[in-house]
Amino acid sequence: MHNRNSSWFVLAAQAACGACALSLAACGDSEDSEAQQEIVIGFMVPLTGGSAAPEWEDSAKIALEDVNQGLEQSGKNYRFKLDTFDAAAGTDHDVADAREIVDNGAKVLLTWMEVQGNLNASYYDDDEDNDLNVPLVVLAASSGAINAPGQEDPKFKNDDGWTFATAMAGSFEAKVAMRIVLAKGTDGDVNGDGVFKMTSYLVNGPYGKSYVDPLEATALELHPGKPLFERVIHEPGVDIATYDWGADIELLGDTHNETTGEDDGEPDVVHIVTYTSYTVAAAQAYASAGYEAPVFHTHGFVTPMVLIQLGDSANGQEGTTPVLAEDNPTGEHFAERMEDETGMGPTFYCPNYYDGVFAAALAISQAAGGESPDEVTGEQVRDALGEIDEPDGEVVYGGPEGFADALALIDDGEALNYEGASGPLDWGENQRAMNRVIHFTVENETYVKQKTYDCVGSTDCLLVED
């Protein structure tokens, strides 16, 4: 990086500033204000590449601003900051990278599905030295393996309770999706060829698998006949611009089944299950290819840029997503802030990012018991995270005032129950929050909510009657 310090501009500016500083020292108030402490929250999420969504980072920053404004309102002498690391995909360096963030003072690590496994595993290997000793809050995750009861895989087990997740497993959303698909035509057979065939285009990895597995399982469970499945897989990390999406799309709409090798007819539905940027590229290529089989999307489709890039070719497509902003004061505040800051409302996982930052800040403050959290340990934060959703606690919402209210409760030693933008953020036994699911369609290049399914009240994700 070039150093401009040699330029005469800087020298002049430094001289001027020096003079100003001397003047201020001579004339100003000599009383030193107490230094404000900076409390670090680690933020290991994708900032670039196909899995990144800039609005997620925006959501986290909004949450950070809210909590810091709340601290200011409460007269607290500390502020939170995000120590950001671009973790676009899981790598062998994940733990070392996380270690660096923790060594920088992070008291909690916010992360996502592709990285969480490597970090979580560090707690359960033989090397105790690599334990991060801070809680992990997973912000964007659809894998059902994370924190699953009885899980033995060190990547996903949660025996020591280090991992929390603000997003529910994709399997719940997938079950809702399949119920919607099978309700069309004759048990899902919309092209009238007498069979139901579902082709899935998925990204290789936990996300794609965690969604398509339950899709197919639900179809097998609910379909009266023998549904046909086909999977076409692309690798994560491919370059959006240069990957040959058309070649993959060529495999989707035809009568050949890439999974079985049989010619078993055209699909009744094509499910695209990949990251948003890839979804756009794939959906664009699919639209160009002129196939007629309808497309059903996951939450990765729900962002305005998708509609702008696809134009009217998106009309008629549909899908499901966890709720974008819960119908509560936190959700309303968050949606308003997003609109103000980004010119658009929340997109999928945005409220989960907001809640993750907000919950982490709450837990750190709670662990400090009203004092400066500088000395709190990761274990204390972990324990405190589990206490921000006390059913009998005082309900607190997001926003600066909400955080200030929470701080007052903490100062008073009261229990609190945070109601988030993504849902009530009740961790449950496996420390994984549940969300409501929206069924949407695209009409006139706009997302239109059709139905809501409540996975918070019941894991059966029952339809919410209007």
Partner: protein, 749 residues
Amino acid sequence: MSAMNRDRGSSCGTAAATTSGSRHFVWRVRAFRSVLSRSALPFAVALGSSYTALAQDLAENALPEDLAELSLEELLNTRVVTASSSGAEERAMTSANVYVVTRQQIETHGWRSLGEILATVPGLYVMDNHLQPSVSVRGVSGGLNAGTRIIKVMIDGRAVAFQPELSASIGPEFIPIEAIERVEIAKGPLSALYGANAFLATVNVITREAPDGVHAVADLHGTFNHAGSAGQGVQTMVTHEGKGQGLLLAVSLDQVDRSGLELQRTFEGQPESPLFDDESRDDVAEPVSAFGRLRVDVGRAGEVTLLGGLQRLDSSAEFGTGSLLTHRSRLQLDNTWVGLRHTKQFPHARYTASLGYAEGGPVRRDTRLYATALTASSYFPNYDYRSYDGEWSYSHEVVDDRLTLGAGLRAALSKQRVLYYVQTFHEPIGQRQPGDTLDLINEDDSRTVRVHDLSMGVNAAATPFGDLPDLQFTGNLRLDRIAYAETSFPLQLSWRGAAAYRWSPDLVTKVVAGRAFQAPSAVLLYARPGMGPANNIIGNRLTPQGDLEPQRIDSLEGVISWQPLSVLTLELAGYQQTIDNRVEFERYGNNFVAVNRATRKSVGGDLVARFGYSALGAQLSATLDHPYEEDAPESSEAYPDHWLSGQLDLDLPEVYLHLGTVGTLVGDRGASQANIYQNNNRPYTLPGYFRWDVAVASTGLQLIDGLTETKFTLSVQNVLNEKHSEPGYDGFDVPATGRVSYLGVKQLF
């Protein structure tokens, strides 16, 4: 001008001229001297130009009759027109920081395009992506596919941009280089004269004069690049000057092969790619340009001038954004313009009226763009325009030699097809068969947009104090109402005020302040994505980012022009500029959208020192720009943090040679926002470099009896074959041109 001492009589004069008893290096243009000498009054004014600057009195404000030879003093005080609202002015006194590149410099250094000329101007930085060069000015880049978006580019005062992009092609297709008399570059805001987009600088190419009789120039040349690829070109110009009328016609055809360039790894987060193992192939450009001008003296009715041009950009797009090393992408873009201007000079007043028409668009037959690494389908950029403009101005000398007032009106209307792509399938994909096409735009979307630009302005030039005749003031005020379709931008106010004082014949100081604006282009407002899955520009009006507004600059600049010694001139400029609503590109999904960002403030300066003694001439130029706003990046995007250029010329008429060399030291340039994003949001810079060019030109050769001069030019650009990269926008940075040799022969008739 009285100091000029010209050798007009001979077609192949030799000795350097001297001025007023002191020996000065003479920046001599021998080529064409005979035809230039005793020429009719040159055009100080151009047709279709702004009603302010170009409503000039040809008689009273004539340029030097012969720009063939300029001393240092004359270079300082040569008369220029671009920044003027009341006729040609001495460069030192004109109300802007104006840099001039003369015909002589173009000839002796072998520069072959406006882009190459602008690359030598302190304060401007030209990046060539081997398709459409981009210009950054004083620390500010136009961003993705910038072209000349942030400057106004004109020929004889008439803007010639491809309007959907608001950008001119400044390669050899811009104008036959033979037709250029000089290039005036006014740095700083000039919207008060030229309206929208005379934003950070204004470039005005002044064409050559038609001399008495019929004359012609024929030029043949060849180029050879570092990888052994060859190219060739031809130019011809015919002029005729009769009684009361003058004609100039010029045409150039080129073929340049740039093959053999390789992408370099430039940032840590750059993904592995087979593109690094590839190199440009069949990277051929075939630019075509034509220019014509007819001037008729209609007696008491004044003078009518008709001029027009064709610019055909025809280039492979080996390093086009989103279209890297496809070895088959090509863009052919035509831009045609014509203007008719009438001027009438009264004893104390001047009237000007003009009409203009322009159109442009890609040529369907040869334009095909492939997305990087994807060959199953190609894309055609579907945008074009037609525009009409009219202008009227009147100025009146209210108080003799003391105060001139003027006013003008201008109206422009254009119909532009908004950018969308047509996809053509070359392989079967799904239901599509080879040859099928698909319009990548919604059925119900409007495909055209009408653009209106109505403006009115007033200007004044005054020498108010009789005791201080060398103290001059100028002021301009202009209002522009610009509307795209149903959307009007707020009324744009531009102004400029200047005070210049000549302390002595050798010292002039001036202060210039002003405000200018740049209206967004139709592409930035309405473009549809679609060329491949990524790296498109999406129109701001299609996204929720909010309406894109014009960006605005306020600038204050001081300039000192000083000739401390007869052999030395110094020009020092310092400025402060503040850009509000600065337009930047933001990642939007897989693509980009232009958004208004925070204010950018910077201070900077240019220094130009010229030395001339006997046969030796030298020029040293330096420029710095330093942003000082909060959170300013360490390095400005696509602009060097320092720039230093040395130019040395040796005139050896005894052996019929002129030697010229330019060495340029360029500092680090900040990467594009797009690539920084791909580098995990970590800013990075592209390292500085040193570039050395050498040119040898014959001078005064008359090889064939009965003919005038025969001129040979051999130039080598980037002698050291230095390899560096310039900021790119799709995960890669663009390799710069390697060593290129040029050999040309030109015969004057």
